[in-house]
Symmetry: C2
Subunit: 133 residues, 2 copies
């Protein structure tokens, strides 16, 4: 797969998330993967994403930078959303949150085998704090 | 500059940090840049790094993933360090901390013009919390 193909494949994966077609994850995610070093089945990974979507109904993965080389993707994703249930350990306050995720993926045979993700929880905490004043 | 050249240039930049040759930043950083969206002069950027090194004398930038495409670098950096002064808003407890940074750079004419960085403050907070029990 060329770098261009892999980037396209990754965009198709993000479309699956944004269009809530989680049954299609089988096409993009290995049966078993690691998420921040922890082993997960695809079903567990799907459950994580389903939980995020339940807490944040308007969650949209807005990829601002996508880089593809060999078997890796790096992506800077922005979220601008209104959580309705607890998320990332935070209790929502009814307002919108703007925060980033920086995430690296390793693909095996065209499907995600490893995810290393950092989410800007600090930005979420600061937004909660500034509105609580 | 090819992707390979840019990755090599980025490794040379990390060597400058790890070898504390901050005067050499002029070769790798534009006169003005943005850091997480905020405009900085190179001198201010250097001061940020110098402050980190002062707080964490054994700070070592251990690049685990480096991706280069066109004018961009993405890097996953691991830190395994013993802070001696307050860092990232935390008060050190004398112990070691293991945490990651996921960072995207945009280069202009071979020098850094923009940095978007996420540091895993959550991991630092968890390590502090678990040792305080």
């Amino acid at each position: 797969m060329t770098d261009l193909d892999l980037a396209g494949r990754y965009r198709a994966y993000l479309a699956v998330l944004n269009e809530r077609r989680l049954d299609d994850l089988v096409e993009f995610v290995q049966d078993e993967l690691t998420y921040n070093g922890e082993p997960l089945t695809r079903e567990q990974y799907r459950d994580l994403i389903a939980g995020d979507i339940e807490a944040i109904p308007d969650l949209f993965y807005d990829a601002r930078i996508i880089m593809a080389t060999d078997d890796r993707i790096a992506c800077r994703i922005l979220f601008d959303c209104k959580p309705e249930k607890p998320f990332l350990g935070f209790t929502p306050d009814g307002g919108r949150f703007l925060f980033a995720e920086h995430v690296f993926y390793r693909f095996v045979a065209g499907r995600i085998a490893a995810v290393d993700s950092l989410i800007d929880r600090h930005a979420v905490a600061e937004q909660l704090r500034s509105r609580a004043r």
